[in-house]
Symmetry: C2
Subunit: 209 residues, 2 copies
Amino acid sequence: MATSKKSAPRRADARRNIETIVEAAERCLARDPDASMSDIADEASLGRITIYGHFKTRAELVEVVARRVLASANALLARVDLRGDPAQALARLVRASWEVTARSGSLVVAAEKALPPQVVRGLHAGKLEERVRRFLARGQRERAFRSDLSTDWLVTLFHATLHAAANEAHAGRLDGHEAAEIVTRTLLAAYQPPAGPLRRPRRSSGRSV
Amino acid sequence: MATSKKSAPRRADARRNIETIVEAAERCLARDPDASMSDIADEASLGRITIYGHFKTRAELVEVVARRVLASANALLARVDLRGDPAQALARLVRASWEVTARSGSLVVAAEKALPPQVVRGLHAGKLEERVRRFLARGQRERAFRSDLSTDWLVTLFHATLHAAANEAHAGRLDGHEAAEIVTRTLLAAYQPPAGPLRRPRRSSGRSV
Protein backbone atom coordinates (compact mmCIF):
# COMPACT_ATOMS: atom_id res chain seq x y z
CA MET A 1 0.00 0.00 0.00
CA ALA A 2 1.25 3.47 -0.83
CA THR A 3 1.85 5.44 2.34
CA SER A 4 3.03 9.01 2.41
CA LYS A 5 6.15 9.62 4.45
CA LYS A 6 4.12 11.93 6.61
CA SER A 7 1.25 9.63 7.63
CA ALA A 8 3.29 6.62 8.77
CA PRO A 9 5.00 8.42 11.66
CA ARG A 10 1.71 10.12 12.43
CA ARG A 11 -0.02 6.77 12.75
CA ALA A 12 2.86 5.57 14.90
CA ASP A 13 2.39 8.67 17.10
CA ALA A 14 -1.30 7.95 17.38
CA ARG A 15 -0.65 4.34 18.34
CA ARG A 16 1.89 5.41 20.92
CA ASN A 17 -0.52 7.98 22.35
CA ILE A 18 -3.35 5.46 22.58
CA GLU A 19 -1.04 3.03 24.34
CA THR A 20 0.06 5.77 26.77
CA ILE A 21 -3.54 6.81 27.44
CA VAL A 22 -4.78 3.28 28.05
CA GLU A 23 -1.88 2.48 30.38
CA ALA A 24 -2.40 5.72 32.29
CA ALA A 25 -6.13 5.07 32.52
CA GLU A 26 -5.47 1.57 33.85
CA ARG A 27 -3.25 2.94 36.63
CA CYS A 28 -5.66 5.78 37.47
CA LEU A 29 -8.79 3.66 37.54
CA ALA A 30 -7.13 0.92 39.58
CA ARG A 31 -6.45 3.56 42.25
CA ASP A 32 -9.64 5.59 41.92
CA PRO A 33 -12.80 4.37 40.16
CA ASP A 34 -13.89 8.01 39.77
CA ALA A 35 -10.67 9.16 38.05
CA SER A 36 -11.70 11.77 35.48
CA MET A 37 -10.43 12.30 31.93
CA SER A 38 -8.36 15.19 33.32
CA ASP A 39 -6.75 12.89 35.92
CA ILE A 40 -5.95 10.42 33.17
CA ALA A 41 -4.56 13.17 30.92
CA ASP A 42 -2.29 14.31 33.78
CA GLU A 43 -1.11 10.75 34.41
CA ALA A 44 -0.41 10.31 30.68
CA SER A 45 1.26 13.75 30.40
CA LEU A 46 -1.01 14.48 27.46
CA GLY A 47 -3.65 17.14 26.88
CA ARG A 48 -7.33 16.39 27.36
CA ILE A 49 -7.88 17.30 23.69
CA THR A 50 -5.53 14.50 22.64
CA ILE A 51 -7.36 12.03 24.87
CA TYR A 52 -10.78 13.06 23.55
CA GLY A 53 -9.32 12.81 20.04
CA HIS A 54 -8.89 9.08 20.61
CA PHE A 55 -11.73 8.34 23.02
CA LYS A 56 -14.97 10.23 22.51
CA THR A 57 -16.25 9.51 26.01
CA ARG A 58 -14.87 8.37 29.35
CA ALA A 59 -17.05 5.26 29.09
CA GLU A 60 -15.34 4.36 25.80
CA LEU A 61 -11.93 4.56 27.45
CA VAL A 62 -13.08 2.60 30.52
CA GLU A 63 -14.37 -0.12 28.22
CA VAL A 64 -11.05 -0.37 26.34
CA VAL A 65 -9.15 -0.58 29.65
CA ALA A 66 -11.57 -3.19 30.99
CA ARG A 67 -11.21 -5.30 27.82
CA ARG A 68 -7.45 -5.15 28.07
CA VAL A 69 -7.33 -6.09 31.75
CA LEU A 70 -9.79 -8.89 31.14
CA ALA A 71 -7.70 -10.20 28.25
CA SER A 72 -4.68 -10.60 30.51
CA ALA A 73 -6.93 -11.95 33.28
CA ASN A 74 -8.30 -14.52 30.87
CA ALA A 75 -4.78 -15.60 29.97
CA LEU A 76 -4.06 -16.17 33.66
CA LEU A 77 -7.38 -17.85 34.40
CA ALA A 78 -7.03 -20.11 31.36
CA ARG A 79 -4.19 -21.78 33.25
CA VAL A 80 -6.32 -22.68 36.29
CA ASP A 81 -6.76 -26.43 36.51
CA LEU A 82 -10.50 -27.08 36.51
CA ARG A 83 -10.19 -30.86 36.38
CA GLY A 84 -10.79 -33.22 39.29
CA ASP A 85 -13.00 -32.66 42.32
CA PRO A 86 -15.41 -29.82 41.39
CA ALA A 87 -15.39 -28.26 44.89
CA GLN A 88 -11.60 -28.06 44.90
CA ALA A 89 -11.53 -26.83 41.31
CA LEU A 90 -14.05 -24.12 42.27
CA ALA A 91 -11.79 -23.04 45.13
CA ARG A 92 -8.85 -22.75 42.68
CA LEU A 93 -10.97 -20.81 40.19
CA VAL A 94 -12.20 -18.37 42.84
CA ARG A 95 -8.69 -17.86 44.23
CA ALA A 96 -7.30 -17.04 40.79
CA SER A 97 -10.31 -14.87 39.90
CA TRP A 98 -9.96 -12.94 43.13
CA GLU A 99 -6.23 -12.44 42.57
CA VAL A 100 -7.02 -10.95 39.18
CA THR A 101 -9.84 -8.85 40.66
CA ALA A 102 -7.64 -7.59 43.50
CA ARG A 103 -4.83 -6.79 41.07
CA SER A 104 -7.16 -4.68 38.94
CA GLY A 105 -8.01 -2.70 42.07
CA SER A 106 -10.98 -0.42 41.72
CA LEU A 107 -11.15 -0.96 37.98
CA VAL A 108 -14.02 -3.41 38.45
CA VAL A 109 -15.88 -0.71 40.36
CA ALA A 110 -15.04 1.85 37.65
CA ALA A 111 -16.32 -0.48 34.92
CA GLU A 112 -19.54 -1.20 36.81
CA LYS A 113 -20.10 2.52 37.31
CA ALA A 114 -19.31 3.64 33.78
CA LEU A 115 -20.70 0.81 31.68
CA PRO A 116 -24.20 -0.64 31.28
CA PRO A 117 -24.64 -4.12 32.88
CA GLN A 118 -25.00 -5.77 29.47
CA VAL A 119 -21.63 -4.35 28.41
CA VAL A 120 -20.03 -5.57 31.67
CA ARG A 121 -21.54 -8.97 31.06
CA GLY A 122 -20.41 -8.82 27.43
CA LEU A 123 -16.84 -8.21 28.59
CA HIS A 124 -16.94 -11.57 30.35
CA ALA A 125 -18.66 -13.31 27.47
CA GLY A 126 -15.54 -14.76 25.95
CA LYS A 127 -13.55 -17.90 26.39
CA LEU A 128 -13.43 -17.45 30.17
CA GLU A 129 -17.20 -17.25 30.57
CA GLU A 130 -17.51 -20.33 28.38
CA ARG A 131 -14.90 -22.15 30.44
CA VAL A 132 -16.65 -21.30 33.72
CA ARG A 133 -19.95 -22.42 32.22
CA ARG A 134 -18.54 -25.74 31.01
CA PHE A 135 -16.91 -26.33 34.40
CA LEU A 136 -20.13 -25.61 36.32
CA ALA A 137 -22.13 -27.81 33.90
CA ARG A 138 -19.69 -30.66 34.51
CA GLY A 139 -20.12 -30.18 38.28
CA GLN A 140 -23.88 -30.40 37.78
CA ARG A 141 -23.60 -33.57 35.67
CA GLU A 142 -21.40 -35.15 38.34
CA ARG A 143 -23.92 -34.10 41.02
CA ALA A 144 -21.30 -32.08 42.90
CA PHE A 145 -23.31 -28.94 42.06
CA ARG A 146 -27.08 -28.61 42.12
CA SER A 147 -29.10 -29.13 38.97
CA ASP A 148 -32.37 -27.65 40.22
CA LEU A 149 -30.98 -24.25 39.18
CA SER A 150 -29.82 -23.53 35.62
CA THR A 151 -26.16 -23.43 34.64
CA ASP A 152 -26.80 -19.85 33.50
CA TRP A 153 -27.88 -18.89 37.00
CA LEU A 154 -24.84 -20.56 38.57
CA VAL A 155 -22.61 -18.55 36.17
CA THR A 156 -24.49 -15.36 37.10
CA LEU A 157 -24.02 -16.13 40.81
CA PHE A 158 -20.31 -16.69 40.28
CA HIS A 159 -19.87 -13.20 38.81
CA ALA A 160 -22.37 -11.51 41.15
CA THR A 161 -20.65 -12.90 44.26
CA LEU A 162 -17.16 -11.98 43.05
CA HIS A 163 -18.28 -8.47 42.08
CA ALA A 164 -20.11 -8.00 45.39
CA ALA A 165 -16.91 -9.00 47.20
CA ALA A 166 -14.88 -6.57 45.06
CA ASN A 167 -17.28 -3.73 45.90
CA GLU A 168 -17.24 -4.62 49.61
CA ALA A 169 -13.45 -4.83 49.68
CA HIS A 170 -13.20 -1.50 47.86
CA ALA A 171 -15.56 0.06 50.43
CA GLY A 172 -13.40 -1.34 53.24
CA ARG A 173 -16.14 -3.60 54.58
CA LEU A 174 -14.41 -6.84 53.58
CA ASP A 175 -10.80 -7.87 54.17
CA GLY A 176 -9.27 -8.44 50.73
CA HIS A 177 -7.16 -11.28 52.08
CA GLU A 178 -10.21 -13.19 53.25
CA ALA A 179 -12.36 -12.45 50.22
CA ALA A 180 -11.42 -15.50 48.14
CA GLU A 181 -12.22 -17.88 50.98
CA ILE A 182 -15.50 -16.13 51.77
CA VAL A 183 -16.56 -16.22 48.11
CA THR A 184 -15.57 -19.90 47.83
CA ARG A 185 -17.51 -20.87 50.95
CA THR A 186 -20.51 -18.86 49.77
CA LEU A 187 -20.54 -20.40 46.30
CA LEU A 188 -19.89 -23.95 47.50
CA ALA A 189 -22.91 -23.64 49.78
CA ALA A 190 -25.06 -21.98 47.12
CA TYR A 191 -24.10 -24.61 44.53
CA GLN A 192 -24.63 -27.57 46.84
CA PRO A 193 -27.39 -29.95 45.75
CA PRO A 194 -30.42 -29.42 48.01
CA ALA A 195 -30.72 -31.91 50.84
CA GLY A 196 -33.36 -34.51 50.11
CA PRO A 197 -34.82 -37.12 52.43
CA LEU A 198 -32.51 -39.72 50.90
CA ARG A 199 -29.49 -37.48 50.79
CA ARG A 200 -26.28 -39.37 51.18
CA PRO A 201 -23.84 -38.02 53.75
CA ARG A 202 -21.35 -35.59 52.20
CA ARG A 203 -17.86 -36.84 51.82
CA SER A 204 -15.98 -35.10 54.61
CA SER A 205 -13.30 -32.86 53.15
CA GLY A 206 -11.89 -31.45 56.35
CA ARG A 207 -13.21 -29.22 59.07
CA SER A 208 -14.38 -26.35 56.97
CA VAL A 209 -14.95 -25.04 53.42
CA MET B 1 -43.48 34.33 57.23
CA ALA B 2 -43.92 37.11 54.69
CA THR B 3 -44.37 35.74 51.22
CA SER B 4 -44.89 37.85 48.15
CA LYS B 5 -48.02 37.08 46.23
CA LYS B 6 -45.87 36.29 43.23
CA SER B 7 -43.51 33.76 44.72
CA ALA B 8 -46.07 31.48 46.37
CA PRO B 9 -47.76 30.41 43.11
CA ARG B 10 -44.32 30.17 41.51
CA ARG B 11 -43.20 27.80 44.19
CA ALA B 12 -46.42 25.84 43.76
CA ASP B 13 -45.68 25.66 40.02
CA ALA B 14 -42.18 24.42 40.71
CA ARG B 15 -43.47 21.77 43.10
CA ARG B 16 -46.03 20.64 40.54
CA ASN B 17 -43.38 20.48 37.82
CA ILE B 18 -41.02 18.48 40.01
CA GLU B 19 -43.83 16.08 40.83
CA THR B 20 -44.69 15.73 37.12
CA ILE B 21 -41.04 15.19 36.18
CA VAL B 22 -40.42 12.57 38.86
CA GLU B 23 -43.59 10.67 37.99
CA ALA B 24 -42.76 10.78 34.27
CA ALA B 25 -39.20 9.64 34.98
CA GLU B 26 -40.48 6.75 37.08
CA ARG B 27 -42.73 5.55 34.22
CA CYS B 28 -39.99 6.01 31.60
CA LEU B 29 -37.22 4.33 33.57
CA ALA B 30 -39.44 1.40 34.56
CA ARG B 31 -39.94 0.74 30.83
CA ASP B 32 -36.46 1.60 29.59
CA PRO B 33 -33.38 1.93 31.83
CA ASP B 34 -31.75 4.06 29.11
CA ALA B 35 -34.59 6.59 28.89
CA SER B 36 -32.98 9.97 28.24
CA MET B 37 -33.82 13.38 29.68
CA SER B 38 -35.56 14.12 26.36
CA ASP B 39 -37.71 10.99 26.67
CA ILE B 40 -38.63 12.03 30.20
CA ALA B 41 -39.39 15.60 29.06
CA ASP B 42 -41.70 14.22 26.35
CA GLU B 43 -43.44 11.95 28.86
CA ALA B 44 -43.88 14.89 31.24
CA SER B 45 -44.97 17.25 28.43
CA LEU B 46 -42.38 19.71 29.65
CA GLY B 47 -39.33 21.20 27.98
CA ARG B 48 -35.84 19.84 28.63
CA ILE B 49 -34.86 23.27 29.96
CA THR B 50 -37.50 22.99 32.68
CA ILE B 51 -36.26 19.53 33.61
CA TYR B 52 -32.64 20.64 33.78
CA GLY B 53 -33.81 23.63 35.82
CA HIS B 54 -34.85 21.21 38.55
CA PHE B 55 -32.35 18.38 38.04
CA LYS B 56 -28.85 19.33 37.01
CA THR B 57 -27.99 15.85 35.76
CA ARG B 58 -29.82 12.71 34.72
CA ALA B 59 -28.13 10.88 37.61
CA GLU B 60 -29.66 13.36 40.06
CA LEU B 61 -33.13 12.65 38.69
CA VAL B 62 -32.57 8.89 38.69
CA GLU B 63 -31.51 9.09 42.33
CA VAL B 64 -34.65 11.01 43.33
CA VAL B 65 -36.82 8.47 41.49
CA ALA B 66 -34.96 5.57 43.10
CA ARG B 67 -35.37 7.09 46.56
CA ARG B 68 -39.07 7.56 46.01
CA VAL B 69 -39.65 4.03 44.71
CA LEU B 70 -37.59 2.62 47.57
CA ALA B 71 -39.59 4.62 50.11
CA SER B 72 -42.82 3.00 48.94
CA ALA B 73 -41.05 -0.35 48.67
CA ASN B 74 -39.87 0.02 52.26
CA ALA B 75 -43.41 0.71 53.38
CA LEU B 76 -44.53 -2.53 51.74
CA LEU B 77 -41.57 -4.55 52.99
CA ALA B 78 -42.00 -3.22 56.52
CA ARG B 79 -45.22 -5.25 56.64
CA VAL B 80 -43.49 -8.57 55.85
CA ASP B 81 -43.64 -10.85 58.87
CA LEU B 82 -40.06 -11.78 59.71
CA ARG B 83 -40.92 -13.68 62.88
CA GLY B 84 -40.92 -17.44 63.26
CA ASP B 85 -38.90 -19.97 61.29
CA PRO B 86 -36.01 -18.04 59.65
CA ALA B 87 -36.09 -20.08 56.42
CA GLN B 88 -39.79 -19.41 55.93
CA ALA B 89 -39.38 -15.75 56.90
CA LEU B 90 -36.58 -15.46 54.33
CA ALA B 91 -38.86 -16.90 51.66
CA ARG B 92 -41.52 -14.28 52.55
CA LEU B 93 -38.95 -11.48 52.51
CA VAL B 94 -37.57 -12.53 49.11
CA ARG B 95 -41.07 -12.88 47.63
CA ALA B 96 -42.06 -9.38 48.76
CA SER B 97 -38.70 -7.92 47.70
CA TRP B 98 -39.01 -9.49 44.28
CA GLU B 99 -42.56 -8.21 43.89
CA VAL B 100 -41.29 -4.71 44.60
CA THR B 101 -38.33 -5.22 42.26
CA ALA B 102 -40.53 -6.56 39.46
CA ARG B 103 -42.99 -3.69 39.92
CA SER B 104 -40.21 -1.13 39.55
CA GLY B 105 -39.34 -2.78 36.22
CA SER B 106 -36.05 -1.69 34.75
CA LEU B 107 -35.64 1.08 37.31
CA VAL B 108 -33.21 -1.08 39.31
CA VAL B 109 -31.14 -1.48 36.15
CA ALA B 110 -31.35 2.28 35.48
CA ALA B 111 -30.22 3.06 39.03
CA GLU B 112 -27.30 0.63 38.83
CA LYS B 113 -26.22 2.13 35.52
CA ALA B 114 -26.54 5.78 36.51
CA LEU B 115 -25.41 5.75 40.12
CA PRO B 116 -22.16 4.76 41.84
CA PRO B 117 -22.38 1.48 43.85
CA GLN B 118 -21.99 3.35 47.15
CA VAL B 119 -25.01 5.51 46.30
CA VAL B 120 -27.04 2.42 45.36
CA ARG B 121 -26.02 0.84 48.62
CA GLY B 122 -26.81 4.07 50.45
CA LEU B 123 -30.32 4.00 49.01
CA HIS B 124 -30.89 0.72 50.80
CA ALA B 125 -29.23 1.88 53.98
CA GLY B 126 -32.37 2.84 55.78
CA LYS B 127 -34.84 1.09 57.96
CA LEU B 128 -35.19 -1.76 55.48
CA GLU B 129 -31.50 -2.54 55.41
CA GLU B 130 -31.48 -2.45 59.20
CA ARG B 131 -34.50 -4.74 59.34
CA VAL B 132 -32.90 -7.26 56.97
CA ARG B 133 -29.70 -7.13 58.99
CA ARG B 134 -31.51 -7.71 62.29
CA PHE B 135 -33.45 -10.58 60.79
CA LEU B 136 -30.33 -12.27 59.38
CA ALA B 137 -28.49 -11.77 62.68
CA ARG B 138 -31.38 -13.46 64.51
CA GLY B 139 -31.19 -16.38 62.06
CA GLN B 140 -27.48 -16.63 62.82
CA ARG B 141 -28.07 -16.57 66.59
CA GLU B 142 -30.68 -19.31 66.25
CA ARG B 143 -28.24 -21.32 64.08
CA ALA B 144 -30.67 -21.38 61.16
CA PHE B 145 -28.15 -19.30 59.18
CA ARG B 146 -24.40 -19.73 59.19
CA SER B 147 -22.22 -17.71 61.54
CA ASP B 148 -18.89 -18.45 59.86
CA LEU B 149 -19.66 -15.53 57.51
CA SER B 150 -20.41 -12.03 58.81
CA THR B 151 -23.94 -10.61 58.98
CA ASP B 152 -22.66 -7.82 56.70
CA TRP B 153 -21.74 -10.36 54.05
CA LEU B 154 -25.13 -12.09 54.33
CA VAL B 155 -26.83 -8.69 53.82
CA THR B 156 -24.57 -8.01 50.81
CA LEU B 157 -25.44 -11.42 49.34
CA PHE B 158 -29.15 -10.72 49.82
CA HIS B 159 -28.94 -7.56 47.71
CA ALA B 160 -26.42 -8.94 45.20
CA THR B 161 -28.56 -12.01 44.48
CA LEU B 162 -31.77 -10.00 44.12
CA HIS B 163 -30.06 -7.47 41.85
CA ALA B 164 -28.45 -10.20 39.75
CA ALA B 165 -31.89 -11.76 39.31
CA ALA B 166 -33.37 -8.37 38.33
CA ASN B 167 -30.65 -7.89 35.70
CA GLU B 168 -31.11 -11.43 34.37
CA ALA B 169 -34.88 -11.03 34.20
CA HIS B 170 -34.47 -7.68 32.45
CA ALA B 171 -32.12 -9.31 29.92
CA GLY B 172 -34.69 -12.06 29.31
CA ARG B 173 -32.44 -14.80 30.67
CA LEU B 174 -34.55 -15.49 33.76
CA ASP B 175 -38.30 -15.99 34.01
CA GLY B 176 -39.61 -13.25 36.28
CA HIS B 177 -42.24 -15.58 37.70
CA GLU B 178 -39.60 -18.04 38.88
CA ALA B 179 -37.13 -15.46 40.12
CA ALA B 180 -38.35 -15.26 43.73
CA GLU B 181 -38.15 -19.01 44.17
CA ILE B 182 -34.71 -19.21 42.55
CA VAL B 183 -33.39 -16.39 44.75
CA THR B 184 -34.89 -18.00 47.87
CA ARG B 185 -33.37 -21.40 47.10
CA THR B 186 -30.03 -19.78 46.33
CA LEU B 187 -29.95 -17.74 49.54
CA LEU B 188 -31.22 -20.56 51.75
CA ALA B 189 -28.38 -22.74 50.46
CA ALA B 190 -25.79 -19.97 50.74
CA TYR B 191 -26.92 -19.11 54.30
CA GLN B 192 -27.03 -22.70 55.50
CA PRO B 193 -24.57 -23.51 58.30
CA PRO B 194 -21.70 -25.55 56.87
CA ALA B 195 -22.00 -29.28 57.44
CA GLY B 196 -19.70 -30.42 60.20
CA PRO B 197 -18.91 -33.94 61.39
CA LEU B 198 -21.26 -33.52 64.37
CA ARG B 199 -23.94 -31.69 62.46
CA ARG B 200 -27.42 -32.49 63.65
CA PRO B 201 -29.89 -33.54 60.97
CA ARG B 202 -31.85 -30.59 59.60
CA ARG B 203 -35.37 -30.30 60.74
CA SER B 204 -37.37 -31.36 57.70
CA SER B 205 -39.55 -28.51 56.49
CA GLY B 206 -41.14 -30.20 53.51
CA ARG B 207 -39.87 -31.65 50.27
CA SER B 208 -38.02 -28.71 48.86
CA VAL B 209 -36.85 -25.09 49.38
